[in-house]
Symmetry: C3
């Protein structure tokens, strides 16, 4: 396993972890109402990486960060308080079983409203969807793995691709290998392009996204980018990416890749932003 | 297993069984034609409880009753002769493999007609759907478990709920426990309501159906009702309840529950009525 | 196993095999572009019988023939060059993994174009769908089982049935037995008909397709037809038959059956013709 863990030497000592202040768990009150589908889309994003999650509740909305057990992928996602029909929070953090919350929300219909309300005495979360109330036992956040922050990195390449193109590249690559190379290059006609490539024992796959036709945006500070990633992680991450978003890819050479997309639109404004960082593989071995 | 079998002491000696007259099996003739979908909806209802069934054929239509092997749930359902395009029967009873009949009907399209015709010589049932004929070997009804009648009981509570609410309550309860409590009560605002509740080891579920907003009808002679049931049985029963019907629930305290719904509408008239009776669990052990 | 292999005594020494000329593999060039869905429908037909296939590339289009490992069923299918948006071929044959090609095509959307191009140096096939290129390693055609030609036979009965009727007959027969009898006969009213029949241990199935109502066409030179076939083979063959085609059935008595249908319509013209020949079973043992 030659994957460089995200909290390892690659990022160095500048890596910051969530401060103690976030971990106080002293929540004075939390009551929030939003459309079931909005909450579903929010929590679904974490489902690829973790079973239990720590949710930060602030006056401005919700945010959470999760890292997979092998420390290869980190996700950070927020949900703005303006996405809610009603939102009242005095700050703090709670922990819970993610799959359980996803199951509860799946009992609501798309148009219905869900209310989350913290019971300070019992330390349980009430989830109310129409006539149905579900009382969820919380988990001590201290018992859930602490997530590292996403390190600040200046990566030389920024490319914006459509989620459908990203999906096609992953699906094709998966037919021949369990790794994917993301790299910049130029086409036979000299046009800048981003390549999603996989090389199998007998067959090869190559998705060429050109600046002219396929990429929504492209910027390269001159260094270009060329990194190898585990397809299993990319597929898990891709599984929850909404099909109609644009993905901003920040890429270097043998460096982690950053994916960013906005979703959960209300009246044309995206209320959630997701950032995923995935560590590179040094080689296929 | 603390379930009270339906034919046991709970109902006492008044429980009547199908009379010998019904069991003569002397059928002079039976030929009936109806839409495939109507017959499917009819036979589907029994699928949760039995593999082989006894079908009573009368001048007024079909009826059947089935009880599960553990004697915990009984279903009775009729199909009025006016539901048929053509109906000719001189009375009697036949037995057959239920799954087989359901499979045969599944080969027809919704709009197509199916004709059932008894061959008196071979004692086989011909099922004709358009150009296709299926000849089904019958089973001696005496070899199929005899169903008890549904006992007459005056239950204190009658509530009419929408099938979709009933379904949601069961689905939610299933997340936390394998039992469901059906009980009457009043909301914080003093409104009468029917509750579907489940209490798990850590989480609780509570569906509150109020007279004001959710219940189609509600009657309580003053005693109220509060009984515990096996979710496995309720889920099996619920699986075949059409999504758009209203379910009449008759409830007591530590008594069996009766569910009744009409379906199979032809020109606005329901041609089938289903009654299910389910024995209570005394405790969760 | 009493199936008569198709290349055995039944067809005699007249059976011709693909000539050496077809096997030269000397392809000077091949480049062809067609809609993804057209190519999918073409290759899908072979999927029931073989894992690896030999594809003949001619100036007039593609053709291939495949036989299952037990030599019980042969399929031949062509795809006319007029089905392609662009077609350039100098003739030859290539071999490849069929499932792989089907998977690659499944990554294209219905309206998209796929380009197949042979790389003469590397002896690989490039499949390009929009921005995606897939480089497929070919298999030496000599290592893939050589298919016999479909023998010329004058069968006494020709009946044209709708694919949906054929499908219903097979589905029904499958409920009672693993063999199907195809035979001609007359209805109780003396009308010529084709019968699809199965006789199980207790139940029977009989689909009667009359000249008057169900058959698209019917011709019988007076001998009639009556042959028994393996349902497993028929079901595999049927799985890939498009639902809206008409199937021409050529039938004899204890002789192979020939099924023929045209599909892959472009501007109202079918560009592919499929012929399947299936050996009869002498008895059910």
């Amino acid at each position: 396993m030659s994957t460089t863990p995200l909290d390892g030497a690659t990022f160095g000592p500048d890596t910051t972890v969530a401060s103690d202040e976030d971990l106080t768990q002293t929540i004075e009150g939390f009551q929030a109402t939003a459309e079931v589908s909005l909450l579903q889309d929010y929590f679904d994003q974490f489902d690829a990486l973790v079973d239990e999650m720590r949710l930060h509740i602030t006056e401005d909305g919700l945010w959470a960060s999760a890292v997979d057990p092998a420390n290869v992928a980190i996700i950070v996602e927020d949900l703005d308080e303006s996405a809610f029909d009603r939102y009242m929070a005095s700050g703090g953090m709670i922990g819970f079983n993610l799959g359980r919350v996803i199951d509860i929300l799946s009992m609501g219909d798309k148009g219905e409203l869900a209310t989350l309300e913290l019971d300070l005495e019992t330390r349980k979360l009430h989830i109310q969807i129409e006539e149905l109330s579900y009382t969820l036992a919380l988990i001590d956040p201290e018992s859930i793995r602490k997530e590292p922050d996403i390190p600040q990195m200046d990566l030389p390449v920024t490319a914006v691709v459509e989620a459908s193109d990203f999906d096609r590249g992953l699906t094709a690559a998966d037919m021949v290998d369990n790794h994917l190379t993301l790299r910049t290059g130029t086409t036979d006609d000299g046009v800048d392009a981003l390549y999603l490539e996989a090389e199998g024992d007998t067959d090869d796959v190559d998705l060429e996204l050109t600046v002219d036709e396929d990429l929504v945006a492209f910027e390269d500070d001159g260094e270009g980018g060329n990194s190898l990633f585990s397809l299993d992680y990319l597929k898990d991450i891709n599984k929850v990416i909404p099909g109609d978003v644009e993905i901003t890819i920040e890429l270097g050479s043998e460096f982690p890749v950053k994916l960013h997309y906005d979703h959960n639109e209300v009246d044309g404004d995206a209320k959630s932003g997701v950032t995923v960082m995935l560590a590179p593989r040094i080689s296929k071995e």
